[in-house]
């Protein structure tokens, strides 16, 4: 019997249907970018020293941040977001690990990163994410061997702080001259190049800006933009407050008003670059499957308590902006969430967004539930810690911050402090030694001790 190698019309039709079905099944979980539909892209944007109230959506008298405002309107703004240590390196390590400084070991700007620390990148990579860390690393020691990071772009000049202008980069271990004059534009370019890559997997981008750290330098086209704007100053501050304290090595010896305007102009420039990234996501059609998480790594004093810089446990220093735009949760878009959230919550949040469980040892809690319901109860207290960082004269500090009170224990000669944040939001009246303090202290001290033990467990 002769068999024909030419398929019959019927056979061809069956084969075609089979192939089309296969193709359809294969494409089903993919969106236009060829990514699994249930795994969103995640972009985490970290801005240095961005204090919580420097947003135009909060009616800030000077700075204009239209793109961050847009994120607030399209996402959820966490109005009580804090860092557990108000200092760059420890805070950055906490974002990555979901742990307190006492656990991950980067206690100040001098103690090195431990390569055994586990970050959320590891889990994401194992789950098929394409990953990139772009920007400021700024943890002491050699550059890390970050497991799970495909692309690592950073800088090491000026002790890892980087330079605002013509900053050489280290790209996957190779020193590379700058392509752009201004660092924020340079990092945004690399971020956009990363998101533009053709890929069949979701991605996670960690974009960590040098701005708006000192020397607070805006790009030439922004410089002077706020020159004629009045600088709001707290009653206890004056234009020369930084001259009479030991702020020489913070690079803050200039008049406060000039420093303030420069800071706001650098922040304005950062906002514009964030806008450029958002616009590119829009034009690529990726915004509907890309979560944006925005945080500051710590706050900043501009004369409050007659202080500059950060580190101290007052609100201006520990409170930061936090915005999450998750296109899967449009029901809460534009809302403000009142829960106290922490930098250590970022890692478990990112993992849960990707459908993954937090790593063992992560102390933070996922913020994801608040994105669908901003009225859910949050934590009622948390531990703040600061480890002395030579030569800054801020003593070792531990504090408990509740929704209403803040109790601070300092090591050394500085007396402890207790503030009623409801009645005294500017923390001007230390209640220690009053009858109210005597009544409150046993519970607050017990709470502080319990939090310490909880973290140490």
């Amino acid at each position: 019997m002769q068999t024909s190698n030419i398929p019959s019309k019927h056979g061809m039709r069956i084969t075609s249907i089979f192939l089309v079905t296969l193709l359809f099944i294969g494409l089903l979980p993919l969106n236009l970018q060829g990514q699994p539909a249930d795994s969103p892209n995640i972009i985490f944007i970290l801005v240095d020293d961005h204090r919580w109230d420097a947003l135009s959506i909060l009616d800030h008298p000077m700075v204009q941040t239209p793109n961050l405002d847009r994120l607030c309107q399209e996402g959820v703004r966490f109005e009580n977001a804090f860092v557990t240590t108000s200092l760059c390196s420890p805070s950055r390590a906490s974002f990555l690990t979901g742990q307190y400084a006492r656990t991950h070991g980067v206690q100040n700007n001098l103690t090195p990163w431990n390569n055994n620390n586990r970050t959320f990148f590891e889990q994401l990579k194992a789950d098929g994410y394409d990953t990139a860390f772009i920007g400021k690393w700024h943890m002491p020691g050699n550059l890390p061997q970050l497991k799970g990071v495909d692309r690592f772009i950073t800088f090491t000049v000026q002790g890892g702080q980087g330079r605002y202008f013509d900053c050489p980069l280290i790209i996957d271990g190779v020193e590379t001259p700058s392509r752009k004059h201004y660092i924020t534009e340079e990092l945004t370019d690399y971020a956009i190049e990363f998101v533009e890559r053709k890929r069949n997997t979701p991605f996670c981008l960690y974009l960590s800006h040098k701005a708006v750290h000192h020397q607070f330098l805006p790009p030439p086209h922004i410089a002077g933009m706020y020159k004629k704007k009045a600088v709001p100053m707290p009653p206890e501050a004056d234009n020369w407050v930084s001259w009479n304290l030991d702020h020489l090595y913070c690079g803050l010896i200039g008049p406060l008003k000039r420093t303030y305007r420069n800071y706001m102009e650098a922040l304005h420039a950062t906002d514009l670059e964030i806008g450029r990234l958002l616009d590119r996501l829009d034009s690529l059609g990726m915004s509907d499957n890309t979560i944006i998480i925005y945080w500051g790594d710590n706050g900043f004093f501009f004369g409050e308590h007659r202080l500059m810089d950060k580190r101290w446990p007052y609100e201006e220093s520990i409170r930061v902006p936090c915005i999450i735009r998750d296109p899967r949760h449009r029901e809460t878009a534009g809302k403000a969430a009142p829960q106290m959230v922490l930098n250590i919550d970022v890692a478990p949040t990112i993992l849960e967004m990707a459908g993954l469980s937090p790593l063992p040892g992560m102390t933070g809690k996922s913020m994801l539930p608040f994105l669908s319901n901003v009225s859910l109860p949050g934590r009622d207290a948390w531990l703040y810690e600061y480890f002395q960082d030579f030569p800054y004269r801020v003593p070792n500090t531990q504090a408990v911050r509740t929704n209403r009170y803040k109790y601070v224990e300092y090591q050394g000669r500085r007396p402890d402090e207790l503030f009623d944040l409801q009645k005294d939001p500017k923390e001007q009246h230390n209640l220690m030694g009053t009858a109210q303090a005597n009544q409150l202290l046993p519970e607050l001290r017990a709470r502080l001790e319990a939090l310490r033990q909880e973290v140490d467990r």
Partner: protein
């Protein structure tokens, strides 16, 4: 080389040394004290005045103007170079002592000693060298011109002036002082973190 010889009369210890030292000290104490507590004591309208006079003025005085105050009083009264140095160093030593005392409440003894060489204290020292060098040159030149100083030497003051300017550049102007600061921190890590 002939030794310098001056015909400026050497007045009493009080007039040539203690009185100028007291003037320098009192100005420092008043400016520093008023600035640190003035904002609590005076009405809000007075605070900018205090900030400019005692804040900025006080800082400039401490950094740059002490020899300008001290030399016209001490030099014509016959004070020696060592006496002039002590007089001019009073605010610097006082301010640095205060900073070091505050640091000792936070850091170990060894760290506190290293803290004494931080940018703040070294900058004051550099300013002092620069200002004293300049004042020595001006006053020696002036009194030489008046015939009250023979064989005036300028090498030492010029070296002090150049050293002071170099220090100011290193500590304050070189990348806004940050370059020196990172070297200082590296030194700290070498000494205390190994």
């Amino acid at each position: 080389m002939k030794r310098p010889h001056t015909t400026i009369p050497r007045q009493s210890l009080w007039r040539r040394f203690l009185f100028p030292a007291l003037v320098v000290l009192v100005i420092w104490l008043i400016t520093a004290g008023l600035y640190s507590i003035g904002w609590k004591m005076f009405p809000a309208t007075a605070i900018p005045v205090i900030a400019w006079t005692c804040g900025l003025g006080g800082a400039l005085y401490r950094m740059l103007l002490v020899p300008v105050v001290a030399y016209p009083i001490a030099y014509p009264r016959g004070s020696s170079l060592v006496e002039r140095m002590v007089i001019c160093a009073i605010p610097m030593v006082g301010w640095s002592a205060e900073q070091i005392y505050l640091a000792s409440g936070v850091f170990s003894a060894g760290e506190t000693i290293y803290y004494a060489f931080s940018s703040g204290t070294l900058l004051l020292l550099a300013c002092l060298f620069m200002e004293m060098g300049a004042c020595e040159i001006i006053f020696r030149f002036w009194y030489k011109k008046r015939g009250q100083l023979e064989n005036a030497r300028y090498l030492g003051p010029v070296i002090a002036l150049v050293a002071g300017l170099s220090g100011i550049f290193m500590l304050l102007l070189w990348e806004g002082g940050t370059r020196w600061f990172y070297y200082y921190q590296e030194g700290y890590k070498l000494l205390f973190h190994n």
